[in-house]
Point group: C2
Chain length 363, copies 2
């Protein structure tokens, strides 16, 4: 029996409706398992720009700091597309990661077997399913390194520095091995150690960390090969850990491979148990407010919250099983309709909520 404070940043577009669905599913789970969730809303993104002039108001950061975790919907939309750089809604995400030290991005790439028709890969490759967890370093590397322009004999030259310290690699490696201990106990570390020095350091530190996890099998793989293997045989992967830039590319590739890209959750973790949880889909302003958005990615994000921030493993599985059952029952929102029973977002959330009870009883 626990009591948890969740900061809810609904954001823009379909953000509010999918967050509402996730919160109700959390509440239902709390009722059944005897936990209490206190939800406090905060502004970020386009709506924050409209109401306060800033995409990430101070009050939002403070509320997040005073909370046990964050649930985030989505930010951005055409309304704010003319704003430049720093002023854009998306900058709020970078700000939150930085302010809260969210250095580990966990991106599951899971295929829902009920939706395997949507998978771009042939049936014999999918086999009995794909279940990969990509652990991406999120606050270091080339996206945050020194960068700039300078004159040279060949005209202007521009540069960006990829750089990693031992401490940065160590903490992300620990996240990967910890995650693997609750899964299939296999970690693939992706780098380009045949040509990059930062990759050589990466490989050395990951190998050192692996000695503390004798049960976990560690393999090293070059990034170009990893991009191939994800297509050739995605079932070989359990946990994949990699740098910011390689993780950016490979996590998106892996998501697309599942064919369920609109249904995938994510977590961004900092020190201790704190984390921010959000669907990987965007704010989809074109369908906002029509009760047609698919709430599954947000609901699965709340399950990740239970697992990673609150240590409620059984409760998390319960939500995930409920989602699987709803999909197996043939319920579909418009985005994944085929010849199935089309339901509204709210009904989707209600279906998951009602399934949770069943999943607990099955136990």
């Amino acid at each position: 029996m626990g009591s948890f404070k969740v900061a809810v940043i609904e954001g823009d577009g379909i953000g509010p409706e999918v967050c509402r669905a996730a919160c109700e599913v959390l509440e239902k789970t709390g009722e059944i398992f005897g936990h209490e969730f206190e939800f406090n809303k905060a502004l970020a993104g386009g709506i924050a720009i409209d109401e306060t002039g800033e995409c990430l108001p101070e009050a939002t950061v403070n509320l997040c700091r005073a909370s046990d975790s964050i649930l985030l919907g989505a930010v951005g939309g055409p309304k704010w597309d003319d704003l430049s750089g720093e002023a854009r809604p998306e900058t709020a995400l970078l700000g939150l990661r930085e302010e809260l030290g969210l250095y580990a991005n966990l991106r599951p790439a899971t295929i829902h077997m009920a939706l395997k028709n949507a998978c771009p890969l042939k049936e014999e490759i999918i086999g009995d399913g794909i279940d990969i967890l990509i652990v991406r370093e999120l606050t270091g590397g080339i996206y945050f390194g020194e960068k700039g322009w300078k004159g040279s004999k060949n005209g202007m030259k521009a540069y960006d520095v990829e750089s990693y310290s031992e401490a940065e690699v160590k903490r992300i490696a620990i996240r990967a091995f910890d995650s693997a201990m609750n899964r299939q106990k296999r970690v693939v570390s992706v780098d380009k150690a045949n040509v990059m020095e930062s990759s050589r350091l990466w490989r050395r530190v990951v190998t050192e960390v692996s000695h503390d996890y004798p049960e976990v099998e560690l393999t090293h793989m070059y990034v170009d090969n990893a991009a191939m293997q994800l297509i050739k045989d995605p079932r070989q992967f359990d946990v994949m850990v990699t740098s910011n830039i390689f993780g950016d590319i490979l996590s998106d590739e892996a998501s697309m491979i599942t064919g369920s890209i609109g249904l995938l959750p994510s977590a961004s973790l900092g020190e201790g148990n704190f984390g921010m949880y959000e669907p990987i889909h965007g704010s989809a302003p074109d369908i906002a407010g029509q009760n047609t958005a698919n709430p599954i990615a947000a609901i699965l994000s709340s399950a990740m919250m239970l697992r990673h921030s609150f240590g409620l493993i059984e409760e998390a599985r319960c939500i995930e099983n409920a989602v699987t059952k709803v999909l197996e029952s043939g319920y579909r929102t418009y985005d994944i309709k085929d010849s199935y029973k089309i339901i509204k977002s709210e009904e989707g959330r209600e279906s998951v909520s009602s399934m949770i009870m069943g999943c607990k009883e099955m136990g």
Copy 2:
């Protein structure tokens, strides 16, 4: 009627047998169209280490400089796996690129419709075929930038610098647009301009070059999105141009998507018409000398040579069509066997040679 000097670097493993096949196909093409090819062999890779003590002897570089183009088989093998860094057979490739200024890597990712069963993607995505040309910058960027280690408060730190000059981007962009003019006239330039300065320079220079090619449609795409789009809808791509590291990842991903990875050729081009042509497959020492290696990648590499170094477009198409016909006739080497007529390497080469005559007559 032309006369061309080709340096032939057979290398290790199956290198010699696939080179022989490609040379005979070139000779046959020369007979039919009235061109003369002078083939001169040179050593590189493991065999060069064994015979001269160096993976890339001076004499080889000199012969290449005195030739109009290079045909390369494959280098490396377990025999030389214990050698470290500079001494390894693979270093010969880096040496050749550097010595000869081969800055543009052309990697076609083509699906042979006769082999579409081998493609990992579902039939509705393959549609009537995939035909992508990836143009990768090969001598700049992070693989060749400043790199090293230094101490920091977080322990050791290692870094690699990604950097591009206007001149470097301009020449690779010109290669991409020139190639597009002979194809579908569409170029997708891949970068990460939302976070990297070198990508912003890349995007600016590619856009400038595009003004000289008003018939070619230019689109910019972020690298993470490109990794997804290759899976979601590979048919949207004609020519893709990108940096060394992004091209490394995306060209391998694209090759895997075709399902014909053992059959794909490549070209590395320098200033003017000079180029080095080689299969993307390795030296496969386990099957060397058994007359079972698939010669198609080497044969298609020779077709790229005709097109890019010698301007013999019709002759190149003729070889490519002959390969397609041989595959459509159901001939297969062991690597791509299914329920087809298995043939030996030599028969494969002979089949292609005999088809070339037919293709010319049709043509």
